[in-house]
Symmetry: C2
Subunit: 684 residues, 2 copies
């Protein structure tokens, strides 16, 4: 009924307007994200691509069908031309598996132009899939193909998205609608968006997906759910993506025995204990794992949040995190599976300073984890703040696989209302030099296994996707998903390159559009930081939503403020958190003069009269900077309006709406911050 | 091709989202304007209306088919129920022609609830059509029908829209796309929007439409175009709307003889002269008129812009406006046609003060015009400024039919970018007491023929419609079209009533929506006035677009400004324009102390130090008020955002876009005004 009405409306619109008008005012709403194939209008360029990509010879890899459909769809949309797939290797575009060149590894590829023929080779099937998306992106970005000489090999094995999706469709800290996984439709129907989700991930190199919330409902391990999960895995496999599950450490328990935090969930087990030392528990997991692998032969493993925020874990049975993780790892080992064990713990008994706790719990366990266990560690010691110093476990753990967990979803960075482009922050985190092994022991080097020879390397991003038509709620939040994938593939890619790739493949190559959008995106993290988390003052938002300003409840718990100054002393005269870092970082952070100013209040209690590098007092600059959220939104509204007519209508208007709402909310935050801090400063 | 793609997209959307979601996020874009029939969700109310409107007995009028389809469509959309049309007069809703009650006139109706039966009666067919739209509006506004006792009779005969549409589809001073009349499709196809245009007009009582620009292309009088016009008239007739044409006074001339201003147009005549005293000219018009009436038997007449802004006219032959108008009137007279002769002339030879010119040209001609001539006079003496004193010809002309010409299209009031609701201004104009015949000789009384017994009464509005999907470019500009129609029908209707009718029938009856939208609309004219035409300082915009700030070019031509003061002296010590008014208006305007402050600079040159009624100096308040355009937009953005989720998506976003653009443009205007006036005031 409704469907018919809508179709009718569309036809009506078309009757009323000329076809040209409808094209330019299309109803496109961002659903293709960066796999948006705008027609190339420059005919010379179009003919150029057709001449290079007209005849394609495929390698005979297991991804041939996927590669064929991706190439056909993208090239016919962009070039109004369908490539022809042939068997002769003299084709203009030739893909082949080169079993001799093992240097390309399981996922790398080489792409070269040899006298007008584009030759793509790889050591593996997956390499060809990645090469395909790389080639499509080159065309989307209107890049020439003549001097093509690309060799790409991802440096990190597991490039993962973590979905905090619940069984009821809710997404914890999700701001883009409900879960993409429609459990009531699965396994019979895998909806079209799951396919597109997989395509989008594969195109940026994501090869692993944790489907469910780390606050894990044990029922996901029930056979009926495992079958649903298997049906998703069957789709994702076509795009070289493996599936993981978050598991609840207490899953083997019978429901009456589970802790209170789990009471709302149904049970899956029937045991009296979940003690990892108990053979009956080990056997339960072994059997469950066997069942999983029967359904999903390439299942990747488990992600576990244990003894954290009320979730059960091995410590409930006087066992260590290592005992717990290894028990699961041993069940997975025969099938080649892995355990991703989160280090996000902050038991108040460990230390008064929350920042120190995770390190103090895990550092003593270094070397005790099995080789198929990875410690998945948030970038900072607190909890995904707008800015944080890097977690000192990176570099400290020498004998344990370490993975970084970044947050793509904007829990503390404005949800899907604020435009906050996180790439600059992630780049900074990854390039932080820990000095754990002399110079050039950056976090990225550690993650890539260059500093300590980890057998497994991994990086995870907490996803910002949902079932909203544009995937991420805010059109520009797609950029964070894209940037995470590209960074995970190659953390050395320049900010400029990743950003331009995203803009061009999402919004087109018009030079004004590219310039203005870049100008809008790049300063957003810094301006958000200045106004909402000035000088590294974390936890400035309310406890429930992590969005609205909330200072009173934080003061004296999270940081101090009075008429003298503001901040937290974590120097060796204070909590001595600085000592968790290697030198010279320890001394740099310890000294107010050398501590990075945007982390100042995280390490120091600073007098309001303190002179910053600008020559201004902290008091003055702190208050001035609070405005930057509002003025960033204002500037972006003006910049965006200048693109009117250059952007398709729905996306143009929806972004404008986000910007207006952002400005509104930024103003509320600003007003509350001003009145709170001015009162503390005793300014009348 | 494109059509298929769009349909596919819609189906895709529907597959992805639940049906509920699509409903609330419909693609509705304002194309129904105030004939938007939202389902009534309150079931009690719905059942109530069904019980009252379930069975309908029609009168057997010539509009029966129209009435039937309007009732069916509206009630089935709002009530999910189709009324049944019967012949017995005991039906719940009974319409009848009452040939005895001639007090209802040619267009009035009576509507009463008699023991649960709604009885509508009229003296004419048209009355029933208008009653139908009245009833639909009552349901749209969720009004009870139990104590219904309505008697409505329009007080003005000709309620006209003037379209300044050119033959090439362009609309002079149009900001909502191209002309609705697709000349190349006519007469074979009258597109669907012309039908809807007629429905919308009929629903607010508009009964006359001038199809083409007053700067009239003679080719509209060619037989092929007359046939196209006849096909539009055939549609409009079904909605009790008659068609007029703007004619070029030089139309009879052969092309080589036409004045330069017409060279771009083709010719239609073959004469050597257009002298109204020449029998050959008179004959030419008589024949043309005969041809027109053969094609359009209810043709209403001609609108003429003569000897104005370069257009030809009787003065070219040393004849008066009366000579010219009467010549045309006599050609039309046998068929019952009329001449609407515009008084918008400002020949610089007449007077140094432009405001005095039209009066000085036409006042001496009072009594010389035939009785089927109407002088169509702009509300003010200048040219559709944001504010103007009323044109003193109203009241001065005692023996000549006088019609007011208002401007619905926002030529000087922000085009389709600014939200400027003009009803408050029009109300003020219409209720201005001219004192031409003692007290209570308001302009509305004059227009209604109560002061002088004009045989013909008329009011015209320069239309703001075009082929944009929402008709008027800005969704809120629909309100100006609506308000003009409602005022023309009954100028005594309260601002509050007209405004609420429009909001409810366009946006729905949610009380928050109604309250917020009213709050947004009502202050807009005043805030626009304060910032763009402060204290009645007219002509502050550039000559070409009438949009951007332009002061330098106006100074000394239109008004004076220096470090001493600002304004134009039109008192008896200055140009003595005030003397064109009757007492006491003459003295009130003449005295700076009694002159309305928002017209101050139109009548006086005022010292910057002059103390206004607020106690502030003109200098201070003038500069302060310049901000009001920006702050109005800011406030409206915040108010509009508060309606997020309560308004359908496309309209919500498009209005937000307009508001953002308005703010942007208001800021540019403000900045230029500040820098210009501060410099003149010699403020550093």
């Amino acid at each position: 009924m409704v469907r018919i009405k809508l179709i009718f409306l569309c036809i009506l619109c078309l009757d009323v307007f000329s076809v040209e008008k409808v094209c330019s005012e299309s109803l496109y709403a961002g659903e293709e994200a960066w796999l948006h194939y705008l027609p190339i209008k420059n005919d010379t360029l179009r003919q150029y691509y057709i001449s290079r990509l007209g005849k394609v010879c495929l390698a005979g890899s297991k991804f041939d069908e996927t590669i064929k459909s991706e190439l056909s769809e993208s090239l016919s949309d962009m070039l109004s031309f369908s490539p022809c797939f042939v068997t002769e290797k003299a084709a203009r575009l030739c893909m082949q598996i080169d079993k001799k060149d093992s240097s390309l590894g399981e996922e790398g590829f080489r792409m070269e132009n040899q006298n007008g023929q584009i030759r793509i080779s790889s050591f593996s099937d997956a390499g060809l899939l990645y090469a395909t998306y790389c080639l499509i992106r080159l065309v989307q970005c209107h890049e020439p193909l003549d001097r093509l000489k690309i060799k790409e090999i991802p440096r990190i094995d597991f490039r993962m998205l973590n979905h905090w999706d619940d069984m009821d469709g809710n997404i914890e800290r999700g701001y883009a609608g409900n879960s993409l996984w429609k459990w009531n439709e699965l396994p019979d129907v895998v909806n079209k968006r799951c396919w597109d989700y997989a395509r989008l991930n594969a195109s940026i190199g994501i090869n692993s997906v944790v489907l469910n919330n780390v606050n894990a409902d044990p029922r996901f391990l029930r056979t009926d759910y495992l079958k649903k999960i298997a049906s998703l895995a069957d789709v994702f496999r076509k795009y070289h993506i493996r599936v993981c599950l978050s598991v609840n450490f207490a899953a083997p328990l019978k429901p009456s025995k589970t802790p209170d935090v789990m009471k709302a969930w149904g049970g899956v087990g029937s045991l009296e204990t979940a003690n990892p030392r108990e053979p009956v528990v080990q056997k339960w997991w072994e059997e469950k794992v066997r069942e999983i692998y029967r359904l999903i032969p390439d299942f990747e493993g488990f992600l576990v949040k244990a003894n954290s925020e009320g979730m059960p874990g091995p410590q409930d049975y006087h066992c260590t995190h290592a005992d717990g993780a290894n028990m699961l790892a041993r069940a997975l080992k025969p099938y080649g599976g892995f355990v991703f064990w989160r280090t996000f713990v902050y038991n108040p008994d460990i230390d008064k300073d929350r920042m120190k706790r995770s390190y103090k719990e895990f550092y003593p366990l270094d070397g005790l984890f099995d080789d198929n266990v990875v410690l998945q560690t948030k970038n900072g010691p607190l909890d995904f703040q707008v800015i944080e110093p890097p977690q000192p476990l990176f570099g400290a753990m020498k004998y344990t696989n370490m993975a970084a967990e970044l947050q793509i979803t904007q829990e503390y960075t404005g949800h899907s209302t604020y435009m906050v482009y996180l790439l600059p922050f992630w780049k900074r985190f990854l390039s932080f030099d820990t000095f754990c092994a002399g110079e050039r022991a950056r976090i990225v080097d550690i993650l890539e296994g260059k500093v300590y020879p980890f057998p497994i390397t991994a990086i995870a991003g907490v996803a910002n996707t949902g079932d909203s038509l544009n995937w991420t709620g805010h059109h520009f939040a797609q950029a964070n998903w894209f940037a995470f994938g590209r960074l995970a593939w190659n953390a050395e890619l320049a900010e400029q390159q990743i950003t331009e790739e995203w803009i061009k493949s999402t919004w087109g190559c018009d030079s004004t559009v590219v310039k203005i959008i870049r100008q809008m995106m790049l300063p957003t993290w810094k301006s958000f930081l200045k106004s909402s988390s000035p000088y590294g003052l974390g936890l400035t938002v309310d406890i429930e939503t992590h969005y609205r300003a909330a200072f009173d409840i934080r003061v004296h718990k999270e940081w101090k403020v009075d008429s003298i100054g503001i901040g937290t002393d974590r120097t060796n005269r204070g909590s001595d958190y600085v000592s968790q870092y290697f030198e010279p970082n320890r001394s740099l952070f310890n000294d107010i003069k050398t501590c990075p100013e945007d982390l100042l209040l995280c390490f120091h209690f600073v007098n309001w009269d303190y002179k910053l590098s600008s020559g201004n007092s902290l008091r003055h600059e702190f208050l001035e900077n609070l405005k930057s959220g509002v003025s960033q939104a204002d500037e972006n509204i003006a910049l965006w309006l200048s693109l009117s007519g250059k952007i398709d209508k729905i996306r143009f208007l929806e972004v404008l709406y986000s910007l207006c709402q952002e400005k509104q909310d930024a103003y509320v935050f600003y007003s509350e911050a001003m009145s709170f801090f001015r009162e503390k400063m005793k300014i009348k």
